[in-house]
């Protein structure tokens, strides 16, 4: 997959398309007017973050099975890319929120879930920084990653359903309207490529970081 670059070009093309056409395509007139275009970007970052953290979770599980340190490396980089997307999602969300709700941050279960997720994964990085021995660090951070991911998933996916309607879409009974099925057909032409584009971007970033790490490791071996 490293030699293959067709999907990277595809991802780049999709994102470029999303950025340009995101501003041109017709959108249904709702009370939030033109800012609904943010849907193409903000939701994409959320999906990217989610998938990255899930990849990290899977690789932590795989590490605990075979104790192969390469998988721990992938888990770490996936978490870092996930945190990046998380911050981007929060920033785009804050810009959107200041227009829609009047304030950059409001009390809502989904926003709390996003914030807690960022805290949890930053604590993961702190934990990794505090252990010296590589095997031990990999093992302990894998355990923490699995533990934290499951608790976070419960918080982020289940709690908003139960808490009832909140401000952010997709809480309580309001889950459906933001999904593509109910989007206007004109928006759908940009939404799906945009989502795919963001996810491909995330995977590309992840792969680049992993390759950098591997080269660093090889350099260290050569020099020592």
């Amino acid at each position: 997959m490293i030699k293959n670059y067709w999907w990277k070009i595809l991802g780049g093309v999709f994102l470029l398309y999303a950025i340009i056409f995101g501003f041109i395509v017709d959108v249904p007139v709702t009370w939030i007017e033109q800012t609904i275009r943010n849907l193409f970007y903000h939701v994409g970052m959320w999906f990217g973050m989610f998938i990255m953290l899930f990849v990290g979770f899977i690789y932590s599980l795989r590490f605990l099975r075979k104790f192969d340190e390469k998988e721990d490396l992938i888990a770490l980089e996936a978490v870092k890319v996930g945190i990046l997307f998380g911050f981007l999602g929060v920033f785009t969300g804050m810009i959107w929120a200041s227009f829609t709700w009047g304030a950059p941050w409001v009390k809502d279960p989904k926003l709390n879930g996003a914030a807690v997720g960022l805290f949890i994964y930053i604590a993961y990085l702190v934990l990794r920084g505090s252990i010296e021995d590589t095997q031990k660090r990999a093992r302990i951070s894998a355990v923490y990653n699995i533990f934290a991911f499951i608790i976070w998933i419960v918080f982020v996916l289940i709690l908003p359903r139960v808490s009832g309607p909140g401000l952010h879409p997709a809480t309580g009974n309001d889950i459906i309207p933001s999904l593509p099925m109910h989007m206007g057909p004109s928006m759908r032409t940009v939404f799906f490529p945009a989502m795919i584009g963001w996810i491909l971007l995330g995977v590309w970033l992840l792969q680049l970081r992993i390759r950098i790490r591997r080269i660093e490791a090889q350099l260290n071996d050569l020099m020592s």
């Binding site: 605990l64 709390n112 807690v116 805290f119 949890i120 930053i122 604590a123 702190v126 934990l127 505090s130 252990i131 031990k136 093992r139 302990i140 894998a142 355990v143 923490y144 699995i146 533990f147 934290a148 499951i150 608790i151 976070w152 419960v154 918080f155 289940i158 709690l159 139960v162 808490s163």
Partner: protein
């Protein structure tokens, strides 16, 4: 086999604690002084939300202080001895059970003292007691697991705090929701969703701890 080991280990923890009384006395003093400070800080009658949030924040700090030492109290050589004697799952389950009992006692004392000083705002007492029980179990299992992780990482107390707060937040948020509805109205309706979540989190965390702890214990 597992049950007998767990029973014996829990008994061991209780007896150790009764002999030394180190943790219990420290935590009781902490409990009393923090509740007393909040009593001094608020002169007027306080609202339900403030009551709720203060209570749970205090309980959270008590829990973190009380449980953080559970893995670092014993010397490494003694822990190696336990490793040869008992299976790791029974060790983690016994610690969770012991910390749960400790938390039940501490939360009951905290609740009584808090109600005494800050006024009784609880309208649905049975729901509140259920919340305390579920909260004790949840806090105990989550914090025991995090304490195990932090004790393996370094002998640093602040790491325990940094790790535990984000992970405890979901549990604490749910507990506060249920507790605030217990304070507001004497009815039970509308809370079942949250209680199910609490039970799920508790059960899930215990199962996770059961599965993941052997990887930590190998040192």
């Amino acid at each position: 086999m597992l049950g007998k080991e767990i029973k014996y280990l829990v008994g061991k923890e209780i007896r150790l604690e009764l002999k030394q009384k180190y943790v219990i006395n420290g935590i009781l003093l902490y409990l009393v002084s923090t509740i007393f400070v909040t009593y001094l800080a608020f002169e007027d009658v306080i609202s339900v939300e403030i009551w709720n949030s203060l209570f749970w924040i205090i309980l959270l700090f008590i829990a973190v202080n009380g449980i953080s030492k559970s893995f670092s109290q014993e010397s490494p050589s003694r822990q190696l001895y336990y490793y040869t004697l008992a299976s790791s799952q029974s060790i983690v389950l016994s610690k969770i059970i012991y910390n749960f009992l400790l938390m039940v006692i501490l939360s009951a004392l905290a609740a009584c003292f808090f109600i005494l000083l800050m006024g009784n705002k609880v309208l649905n007492m049975s729901l509140f007691i259920l919340t305390l029980l579920l909260g004790s179990l949840g806090l105990s299992s989550v914090l025991t697991m995090v304490s195990a992780i932090a004790s393996r990482a370094s002998r640093n107390f602040s790491l325990m705090a940094i790790l535990s707060f984000p992970i405890v937040l979901p549990l604490l948020a749910t507990l506060m929701k249920v507790s605030s509805s217990a304070l507001r109205s004497p009815e039970w309706a509308g809370n079942t969703g949250f209680i199910v979540i609490l039970l799920t989190i508790n059960g899930g965390v215990i199962i996770l701890a059961f599965l993941l702890f052997p990887y930590l214990w190998r040192d």
